[in-house]
Symmetry: C2
Subunit: 144 residues, 2 copies
């Protein structure tokens, strides 16, 4: 089970480029449930996510490069590319996604929680924009 | 983790049609790792199986009918259809697959074990043909 909040970002924090960064490419085979392929640096995976916005079941399964390239030919619409910065914030790690290509200059931050209680207690940093967790149009699979 | 043996069947046991039977349709999005979609009566699922013959990681994830129909358009090669009979055998349940369409009259029996020790102790019934567990050509994803 995954409990995750998502925020729009309008202004990047000054030091964001100093944090660890991964290059992501991803595409969708199905929107609901989500069946996604992703390249994360030199790692490849297939992800399944059940229906839901704040809480959902998620499975991540490894793919070979060859399997990824094969499945890439089957995605709906376009591939998404983005840079993901991992920014420590108290006990959490903020995932800051900076989109490239057709979706630039879109930016999101995501924070994952171990429980709904943690989620309720969470105080977002001041550079976070609107909480769009419950706005389906901002889900990656609806952006393509 | 799944531990499973597979046997060719040449002659069906006399009473096979009296056992519970499910109608299966399945197709493959990827061969290695296996990414499979399957309709099992009115249930739909996505399955991921890691590399391997006797032992492999397996994840089964529910699909809606709509998601199944969508993913059906992405399979490699043809769909497989078969009837699966569930035949009790001591503490085990034999899955007897009787293929239809282009793959008829092919027939397999599969037995799943909780441990490698169970697998070693297993004595197959006399109507089982050759053990083809380690023959990759008999994997469903190589039949298409």
């Amino acid at each position: 089970m995954e409990i995750e909040r998502k925020y729009l970002i309008h202004t990047l924090p000054e030091n964001y480029a100093s944090f660890p960064c991964r290059q992501l490419e991803q595409g969708y085979l199905c929107k609901e449930p989500v069946v996604r392929i992703r390249q994360d640096n030199d790692m490849y995976e297939l992800t399944y996510k059940s229906k839901g916005l704040l809480v959902r079941e998620e499975y991540n399964m490894p793919l070979t490069k060859e399997a990824y390239e094969h499945l890439k030919g089957k995605v709906d619409g376009k591939l998404i590319t983005k840079k993901r910065y991992l920014i420590p914030y108290g006990e959490y790690t903020i995932e800051l996604d900076v989109f490239e290509g057709a979706l630039a200059p879109l930016k999101f931050a995501e924070v994952e929680f171990a429980s709904l209680e943690e989620d309720e207690r969470f105080v977002a940093p001041d550079w976070f924009g609107e909480d769009v967790t419950f706005e389906a149009k901002y889900k990656n699979n609806n952006l393509i």
